[in-house]
Amino acid sequence: MKITITGGGTVGCALAERLSSEGHDIIVVDVNPAVLSSLPDTLDVMTVEGNSASLEVLKSAGVADADLMIATANADEINILSCIAAKKLGCPHTIARVRNPEYTQQLMFLKEELGLSLSVNPELAAAQEIYRLIQFPSFLKRDSFNKGRVELVEFALSAGSVLVGKKLSEVSAVIGPRALICAVERGEEVFIPKGSFELAADDKITVTAARKELAALIKRLELVKQKIHSVLIIGGSRIAEYLTEELLRSGVNVKIIDRDLGRCEFLSQKFPNALIIHGDAARRGFLESEGIAATDAVITLTGLDEENLIISKYATYVGVPKVITKMKRTEFSHLFENRDIGSLVCPKELTVNEITRYVRAMANSGPGSLRALHRIVDGKAEALEFTAQPAEYIGVPISQLHIKPEMLIACIWRRNSLIIPKGDDLIQVGDILIVVTSADRTVSELQDIFEKNPLI
């Protein structure tokens, strides 16, 4: 597909990288020639210099023939304007990044008039992800499927865990028949494990289970379970704004520290029930005086990754049970252990996933196309959601199907209940399937997980 991306910032570049590696033709538009000059050296993309909201520039970037335009420039207004222009030029699909909370409602209201196929808000997505983690603090990462009914959760095995030393074929006795270990991360390596795989301490495992089973799962695994009543947010960014709204609604005490007085005043007016503190959170004494050790959760949301890492590490050091770190860039995230910095949230990654899902579904508007996509285990594997449509593989026992290596049907949601498929289970029309694959294959429809001839 031909895709034009406007804005060569972090999100724009990450999208260009992902989509170009999936084989699409990418043209990146940016006003700043310095951003563009080095781009073709590292990515197989073409670049056009200019204001992405100008018709002339969009034309020369071939938007008229493009299948999709993704607007990720800095200003929301420019993105919206670019999308309107692109639609007029005949580009059938447009995606805009719109970040200002004040526009969120408007966008739902005006989506059709503006010609937007999708609007993405990385900060809102990040806030939602953080909120989901706060709900179940035992997990490092939590992705939901099928409107939140099915969950994929990640947690690290401590040395004393009941699972350590167990073979995968034996664990169902511990985690129950309605949960499945679908990916294991050990050091730099990721496994989509078979029955003979033996778990070890420090493995990070990803488990799929129904939402209603999560509490039971935590109990069976003897994970630390502590409800979060108070949250300390470092940095009053937009993510903090979205998150505070959610947290206050569910009755959690929120304390926000920001070093900008104006921002503090704004937040205190918007959230009279939250405690807004003006000060430099990078000062140890200040954090101590604000009682960092006594909070249930610390979330670092400042604009500097380094600051977030240091404060998170300090929070873990003083014994805060749940720490969540926001990072803008994740190239070096594997250098940090989760036990030091807690859960990692990357708004860029979330946006890229959402758009990648949209693009893959677009490339394949036929039946069985992709409903959701999450990157799991440090981006090394993907979890995908599909609806089963009439096809060759329907009604055949799974043991009789030719599934490609490194692919796993993790679970099937059928008639309001979760099935962990065994060899003699069948896929039926209308089933919702969650599939886990290694990230180096592009899967955009259910057919892709089977070999050319799906039947043995």
């Binding site: 990288e17 033709d25 073709p40 050296d41």
Partner: protein, 483 residues
């Protein structure tokens, strides 16, 4: 330095070489040229074996930076030249290896300078291979590889395209590098076939038409006749002149025409300058040589042919211009400097560099009068040339003259006339072929000593790859582990 990746790339290039030698081998078989067939077979086998060994190297990472890009291009060309020379040497068509190497490098770099006093009695397959090297070298063998190779991941091979293509800046025609390379090759091969058809219509024998078309496409200039193009009909000569002129135009222009974007073609500063140069040069030479021809028409015909041949850096000839007046020689020497357009198969400094250089001259003059004036240099009516590009062109200009002067100095040790030495270096560095005086169109390079030939070989490679890849190949800092 990712040496494993470099080895892998060179291996792939050798595979392309061995496959592209197969038609020559077939011709040798059908024509019953036994020694030539054996020599092709041996080279194909050797090159394929080397390719298998090299491509078995699995690079740990596929990361490729500009340093690797330059080295891949330089090493590929060197190994291509050495292996490409083997058929000439093994079949004893050219008994001395240095001569065979000279002929091959001259072919791949599309110079067209020959050391053969007598070409007409060479085996057909050898003549075909000699002309075919022009086609392979013209657009670039690595660009061909990029057109074929499946895209693995990142777009880093851009460094290769940049190192092998001609001109100050290299842009993509399509978002995917592979497609860009394919478009270039499709235009290239399409135009070559068109010329073949036109020459056949003009009544040229098939083998002559094929080798002439191959020689024109890469703007090379190897001919299978001792008299170059002189014995063919005026129609065929004119057709060759027009195609030489066309192959020295930036291929992006043809792509724009195919897309129906006539405006960009019309607005292109380089194309305008190129047309103007050809027009003025043809006019001036016509006037200065008018008395030597029977009619004005004939004068224009021969002047245009020679101008087109030199400016496109092809080097075909319809007559020996050594007898022309000095004024005409001076113009031809200026044309040798200029060369074709960027992004074409032509050599030389490239018209776009000259345009930018002259414009930057005006810009600097302006700065002397108004030291605080802020301006920018524009091309094509709107595109602003970055300061970095202007600086690179100045550096290129300096290196170009530096190499030219040093080479002329070294060649002077041979004891021939200054005009011979200077034009020989100029003809090799700009990938033209014939020079003036002793290396004029009716002569050849066989009389130079071995060191002189090696120097000229180096000049041809430096000229074709636009100086830096070959220079960096010899720079110690390229090979340092930590730098």
């Amino acid at each position: 330095m990712n040496t494993k990746l470099i080895g892998n790339y060179v291996g792939k290039i050798l595979l392309i070489l061995s496959v592209s030698m197969v038609p020559a081998f077939m011709i040798a078989l059908f024509a019953g040229e036994e020694t030539a067939a054996w020599s092709f077979f041996a080279t194909i086998a050797l090159s394929a074996a080397a390719s298998v060994l090299l491509t078995r190297i699995r690079p740990k990472t596929k990361s490729l930076y500009s340093r690797e890009g330059f080295v891949i291009v330089a090493l590929s060309w060197v190994s291509l030249s050495i292996l490409g020379a083997l058929p000439f040497y093994l079949s004893s068509s050219i008994p001395r290896f240095v001569d065979a190497l000279f002929e091959t490098v001259s072919g791949f770099t599309t110079t067209g300078a020959t050391i053969l006093p007598e070409v007409e009695n060479l085996p057909m397959s050898i003549l075909y291979w000699r002309s075919f090297t022009h086609l392979l070298g013209g657009m670039g063998v690595l660009v061909f590889l990029l057109a074929l190779a499946p895209q693995d991941g990142a777009g880093a091979p851009m460094h290769i395209l940049r190192a092998e293509s001609a001109g100050p800046t290299v842009g993509k025609l399509a978002p995917k590098l592979r497609r860009t390379a394919r478009i270039l090759y499709l235009i290239y091969i399409g135009m070559t076939l068109l010329e073949l058809v036109v020459l056949l219509i003009g009544g040229m024998p098939f083998f002559d038409a094929l080798t002439t078309a191959l020689g024109t496409a890469g703007t090379g200039g190897f001919s299978i006749r001792n008299s170059s193009i002189a014995d063919y009909s005026p129609f065929c000569q004119s057709a060759v002149a027009v195609f030489m002129f066309l192959f020295a135009i930036n291929f992006n222009m043809y792509y724009c025409i195919l897309l129906g974007d006539i405006r960009s073609v019309w607005k292109n500063s380089e194309l305008r300058a190129y047309l103007l140069i050809v027009l003025i040069a043809t006019g001036a030479i016509t006037i200065s040589t008018l008395t030597r021809f029977a009619s004005v028409g004939e004068a224009i015909h021969h002047s245009f042919f020679q101008v087109s041949s030199i400016v496109s850096t092809t080097g075909f000839a319809t007559l020996d211009y050594n007898g022309w007046p000095e004024f005409a020689h001076a113009i031809l020497i200026i044309l040798m400097f200029i060369g074709g357009c960027a992004g074409s198969t032509g050599g030389g400094m490239k018209v776009s560099r000259i345009v930018i250089l002259i414009k930057s001259l005006g810009y600097e003059m302006d700065k002397l009068i108004h030291p605080h004036r802020v301006t920018s240099l524009r091309l094509d009516g709107r595109n602003i040339v970055a300061d970095g590009t202007i600086r690179q062109i100045h550096v290129y200009f300096f290196f170009y003259f530096f190499i030219l002067i040093i080479s002329t100095l070294l060649l002077s040790l041979e004891g021939f006339s200054f005009k011979t030495n200077f034009s020989a270096v100029l003809a090799c560095l700009n990938n033209i072929g014939p020079g003036m005086d002793l290396v004029g169109p009716a002569c050849n390079y066989s009389f130079f000593s071995i060191p002189a030939k090696l120097l000229l070989i180096l000049n041809m490679l430096i000229g074709r790859l636009e100086i830096f890849p070959i220079l960096l190949l010899f720079a110690p800092s390229t090979w340092k582990r930590r730098s």
